[in-house]
């Protein structure tokens, strides 16, 4: 079978995205959840790259740059918060963080 490269790329991105999604769902450790989200973001980035190669424009790459930057920022803030949370809960289990509900 020979698939059109764009389709293949998008498919790959899609698979990555879904994998990330699944691991967000099944992981309880907040750090891993964060990582999985990063995977999803990068999947999106990949999709952009593929798309831009398909159209032969640079927009996709630029977007990917932005995504990288934003992901970095997010992780940094995220880790800070997780640290905070760990100080209070003494655990990284996200399910423990459920003081607010109803």
């Amino acid at each position: 079978m020979n698939m059109h490269p764009t389709t293949a790329g998008l498919l790959l991105a899609g698979i990555l995205f879904v994998l990330g999604l699944i691991s967000v769902l099944i992981r309880r450790n907040i750090i891993f959840m964060l990582l999985s989200v990063e995977i999803m973001l990068n999947a999106a980035g990949l999709a952009f790259v593929v798309a831009s190669s398909h159209w032969g424009t640079a927009d996709g790459q630029v977007m990917f740059m932005f995504i990288l930057a934003m992901a970095a920022a997010e992780v940094s803030v995220g880790l800070a918060l997780i640290l905070q949370l760990y100080h209070q809960l003494r655990t990284l289990d996200s399910d423990e963080a459920n003081r607010m509900h109803g």
């Binding site: 309880r28 959840m33 996200s94 399910d95 963080a97 003081r99 509900h101 109803g102």
Partner: protein, 630 residues
């Protein structure tokens, strides 16, 4: 002189007494109350004379526009013609006498002025009723007297039983009134007016004899009359109405108000003539009532209840007469009945007071010696009620009815026999009462004798209930027709089909004999063989029958079971208003939704993510799937 004053004066004094409350002292109250009636009685006489001078031409006067809407007009308008004059005279004169009597009777009651306020109010309303020129105003008087009767029956409000009796009276009559209201609606629908004369004329042109519409109307009017006049099937309230003070019973539940039905039918006689069916119904109802009530009167122990049942039965006579088309006869009987029944009630009242408010006849007796004055007047009254021949007014009026029940166009043998049976019964219960009260040995001692203020009215009424008969004598003896002639401009003369002196003689003879027979039986029963009678009465079947009759043929029980209890039951089960349950249910449902939703806000992050993902999947699948659909 302005005849509008006739009802106005009693109203005025009623207002004064009501506002005056406890500030006016008793003498003043009595003076105002009686004086006002005396005044309006005088004016009534004057008015009567005027009417007579214009040989029966009615006096009309419009006071003010009550309501006038788009062609419909009802004014505060009065009309004094021969018929209403008769009623007005009876009401004012008898009313005046009763008031005088009452000043003594109620002397040591703490609500003295309230009593007389209501009495005056009643007289005023009654006068409006009989003087009204249109049916709406008549309805006002009609309900007004109902109100006063309610107020006065329940006058001694501390005892719930009285309150019950009063409510019963009001509600039962109200049932009749609604029938009358329908009649009004129908009349307006067909004739476009409620002005009595207008209605009568329009009706005469509008309907052929026996037209269903007019029959319906007449029947409905009859319904109203039946309610007020305590005829079958709405008679049940009157005996209980005796809970009121005796003057009230005399005035309202004997002399005047209960005859309003008679007045109504006489007033609208044109319609009844157009509706033979309705007229027959009137006669039948009258006949049945007079027998049933007579039987009940036979077995009562309470003296006032006897009189009450006898009133019902006498009004039955009037209805019978009306049904037979003997209009003037009915009115004549009304007049005499007003006199002797008022007399009986008040003398009974005198007895009751004398015996310290003892009403049970079996605890009375031997009063012939102790209360001679009362004895004589009571005797006259009883005689007149039992229609002893020749000397009593009752004889002439009742005899006329009995004869016409046979001979009149609308009459028949059946009616005649009923009427005779009634005569027999009347004689029996009247003198049973009479003997029980005044003969035998005294069972309760008399603690004070009635004073002049009580006795004088009694004497006057005694005279009246003797002489009043002589204004109308049958063909056979004297043939005086002052009364029917006087009524001629309003009420047509009765068509007599079997014009025969011989037959009339027989009829009179039979009726006279029967009343004597009745008296005789009463005598045997009470005086001669009380022992045997008592044994006879103790027989179980008889006991049951007696009980049933005493309870007025158990009509109350039937109505309770059929109407009252179901209504109360229904209203009780729904007292919390089931409709509201719908809304509370709705609120519950909302709360349930809240709880369900609140569960989803578990506070656990992954749960939220799950939510997002599910949403995403849902949206994606919907969109894409739909896309392939198209």
């Amino acid at each position: 002189m302005n005849s509008a004053l006739i009802p106005a004066i009693p109203f005025l004094s009623a207002c004064i007494l009501m506002l005056g409350w406890k500030r006016i002292n008793r003498t003043a109250v009595s003076v105002i109350a009686c004086g006002s009636l005396a005044l309006s009685a005088l004016i009534a006489v004057v008015a009567a004379v005027q009417v007579a001078q214009h040989n029966g031409a009615p006096q009309m006067l419009q006071v003010w526009n009550w309501m006038q809407v788009a062609g419909f007009r009802a004014g505060i308008d009065f009309r004094l013609d021969a018929l209403s004059v008769v009623f007005v005279l009876v009401i004012t004169i008898v009313g005046f006498l009763i008031h005088v009597y009452a000043t003594a009777y109620m002397h040591d009651d703490e609500d003295y002025s309230r009593f007389f306020a209501c009495m005056n109010l009643f007289v005023g309303a009654m006068l409006v009723l009989v003087m009204a020129d249109n049916l709406v105003l008549l309805y006002l008087g009609w309900e007004g007297v109902g109100l006063c009767s309610y107020l006065l029956i329940g006058f001694w409000y501390k005892d719930p039983a009285n309150g019950y009796a009063a409510r019963k009276a009001f509600i039962v009559t109200r049932v009749g009134d609604t029938a009358m209201a329908f009649a009004l609606f129908l009349l307006y629908q067909h004739t476009g007016t409620l002005h009595i004369q207008g209605v009568l004329q329009a009706g005469a042109q509008l309907w052929a004899k026996g037209d269903p519409a007019v029959t319906m109307i007449a029947l409905l009017l009859l319904g109203g009359a039946v309610g007020k006049s305590a005829q079958l099937p709405l008679q049940t309230w009157l005996p209980d109405a005796m809970a009121g003070p005796t003057p009230v019973s005399a005035l309202i539940h004997a002399a005047t108000m209960v005859t309003a039905g008679v007045y109504l039918i006489a007033r609208t006689h044109t319609l009844f003539e157009l509706a033979p069916a309705a007229q027959t119904a009137t006669a039948v109802i009258g006949g049945m009532t007079l027998v049933i009530a007579g039987v009940s009167a036979l077995v009562q122990t309470d003296i006032k209840r006897v009189l009450a049942y006898s009133t019902v039965s006498q009004i039955g006579y009037m209805f019978l007469a009306l049904g037979c088309g003997a209009w003037s006869a009915a009115i004549f009987h009304f007049v005499t009945h007003a006199f002797f029944k008022a007399l009986l009630f008040m003398s009974a009242g005198a007895v009751i007071v004398a015996l310290h408010h003892e009403q049970d006849m079996f605890k009375m007796g031997g009063l012939k010696k102790l209360l001679p004055g009362v004895f004589w007047v009571f005797l006259i009254g009883s005689a007149s009620l039992a229609a002893l021949p020749f000397v009593t007014a009752g004889f002439y009026s009742k005899d006329q009815i009995i004869w016409l029940a046979w001979s009149a166009a609308g009459g028949g043998t059946g009616y005649w026999i009923t009427a005779l049976l009634g005569a027999l019964l009347t004689g029996m219960y009247t003198f049973r009462m009479f003997f029980l009260v005044f003969y035998g040995e005294a069972r309760t001692h008399v603690h004070h004798r009635p004073g002049a203020r009580m006795m004088v009215p009694l004497y006057i009424l005694a005279v009246l209930s003797t002489v009043a008969g002589f204004v109308e004598l049958p063909h056979t003896l004297g043939h005086v027709t002052l009364f029917s002639h006087w009524l001629l401009p309003v009420l047509p003369a009765v068509q007599v089909v079997t014009e025969s002196a011989a037959l009339e003689w027989t009829s009179q003879a039979v009726s006279a004999l029967l009343s004597f027979a009745g008296i005789g039986m009463a005598y045997m029963w009470v005086m001669k063989h009380p022992q045997g009678m008592r044994e006879f009465l103790e027989m179980p079947a008889i006991v049951w029958l007696r009980g049933c009759w005493q309870r007025g043929w158990d009509f109350d029980e039937i109505y309770d079971a059929l109407l009252v209890r179901p209504f109360v039951f229904l209203s009780q089960i729904n007292s919390k208003d089931l409709v509201d349950k719908i809304y509370t249910g709705l609120a519950r449902a909302m709360e349930w939704c809240h709880n369900m939703m609140a569960r989803t806000q578990s506070g656990i992050l992954r749960w939220y993510i799950m939510g997002v993902v599910l949403g995403a999947v849902a949206i994606l699948s919907v969109l894409i799937w739909r896309l392939y659909e198209i």
